[in-house]
Symmetry: C2
């Protein structure tokens, strides 16, 4: 038996499956809680193709929601989408021991608070994934590129838990940036995600090139980034104006890219509208900061959701 | 032979067919220029069901683009959609005599100028239709309700041509409001159309109820109306603040309504994006008036069009 920490992954989409594989490779016991994928993973384990090699593995324990845990994990890594209808605090409850460190690898802004409030005595580690990976069928993941995590204690700082966990990830072969200000890093990532992801949904799956090349598109992106920056500054994370052009130029250097929110939307899956956009608008309103461009996109997405019965 | 003025209708959609029928009823000779509907109208004339009775008629002459006119009409009534790809000045050219009065029954803002410049010596009459009618198949129109025209000389005033034509329409059974400021009336109509029509397209056909009942929807509509009002005021047509709530309240009193722009969009037909929205943003930019909500909707519509190869 390994004397490495035990890991439980909750949510075995592309993200959860991939980072579970990395920790498995680092020598940890890795168990998984899945929902619809149970039968496939039970039969075949988790299959992952990757530039890092074949990362396929069988979880040490495979759970469904409602199962009785064999043991409380040292690290519970939550990788489900952040959706209004998903009570994440309730989802992890059966597996949260008194010393379990709760780790989020999830997108969006202000997504930690409800978990911090539900588990005030458990260390909460917040991570941002920079990765291109997709789940191609139940239990099968294609890792295409990247994989870096930005990691810090929530709401701020770096502690021994972060250091231990980041070492394990690095042992497994990926890069980790530890940060004292993980919330600031979330704002920084949202400079891109908050404009590009919802715009792509509104435009029925337009890729980055289409968004930027449309007449007025670059300026709309600039205006939206500026609004996110204004809110970030009010939250204590001011950024230099030059990041606007950096985001535009960086995006132009990438191959045309259809982001995962648009792919999810086009496939009828729920999108992280509130985590990526709605929370930014809510925080802006709290500060009295006008965000007309962001708000227009948010409300039109809500109209669509209402029409389609998605909300 | 009638000594009433001769009429040529260019564009035999719901609007052109209906107002042609009214003038036919008033005793005018009414000819029609059609495109794709030629065979159907040649065979069966124009069929119109209406609360006013059966308005079906056969055009006195039926033309296709490129045909040689039998005679230049006294009034040429242009009822085609205002689309960037449609050169309306060229479209009417074969039928424009030296004394032909050119009449527009079309939606949108700043849509007269290119025709006024092309035919500076012909009187130009600009009309707004308040009507619920739809073309159900080639040559067949269902008139559901209303029918009033607001009419004036472009750019302003009321002349004898307006008076003659309005009397003919009234003889045919519909209501006419003559206005000294038809541009102002266009701004007034756009207070509604410019927010509601494009939002419904963005929301994939959301009706008025869905738009207003979505969280943040009413306030978004208010913000967009406010922006249109700001531009209208800069153009010399200030309006009282109370029109904002009048538009909201009036819309709430109507049955839920899916506007024609959304219907066109969902059926793959081109939409009058520039006439209804783009021109407002262009005029705003000329005045240096910020219209972030309108611009966000405009640019996202352009992104969609680019993606769908519609532009």
């Amino acid at each position: 038996m390994s004397n490495k920490p035990s890991i439980l992954i909750v949510g075995a989409g592309a993200i959860g499956s991939f980072y579970g594989a990395i920790l498995k490779k680092a020598g940890c016991s890795v168990s998984t809680v899945v929902r619809s994928e149970y039968d496939a993973v039970k039969a075949n384990g988790i299959t992952i193709s990757s530039p890092l090699g074949d990362l396929s593995y069988r979880p040490d324990h495979l759970y469904r929601g409602g199962d009785t845990p064999v043991a409380e994990p040292d690290y519970l890594i939550l990788c489900v989408k952040v959706l209004p209808g998903v009570d994440r605090a309730a989802l992890v409850k059966p597996w949260m021991g008194s010393t379990t460190r709760l780790v989020l690898i999830e997108n969006g802004l202000d997504i930690e608070r409800e978990l911090a409030e539900a588990y005030p005595d458990n260390p909460l580690i917040s991570c941002l994934a920079f990765i291109a990976a997709s789940r191609t069928e139940p239990g099968v993941v294609e890792h295409k590129a990247y994989g870096k995590l930005v990691m810090g204690r929530y709401p701020k700082g770096i502690d021994d838990n972060c250091r231990e966990l980041s070492q394990l990830f690095m042992d497994g072969g990926i890069r980790i940036d530890l940060t004292e200000q993980v919330e600031g890093e979330r704002w920084r990532k949202c400079l891109w995600n908050t404009p590009f992801n919802p715009l792509s949904v509104i435009a029925n799956g337009a890729d980055t090139r289409t968004i930027l090349d449309t007449e007025g598109g670059e300026d709309l992106i600039r205006a939206m980034i500026r609004e996110v920056m204004d809110v970030a500054a009010a939250e204590g994370y001011p950024m230099d104006d030059k990041v606007i052009e950096q985001n535009i130029t960086g995006t132009r250097k990438m191959p045309p890219y259809k982001n995962s929110m648009a792919v999810d939307y086009l496939n009828g899956r729920p999108i992280e509208r509130e985590a990526v956009l709605g929370n930014v608008v809510t925080i802006a309103q709290r500060h009295g900061i006008p965000v007309p461009h962001l708000n227009t996109v948010l409300v039109t997405l809500k109209m669509r959701a209402a029409l389609e019965g998605r909300d």
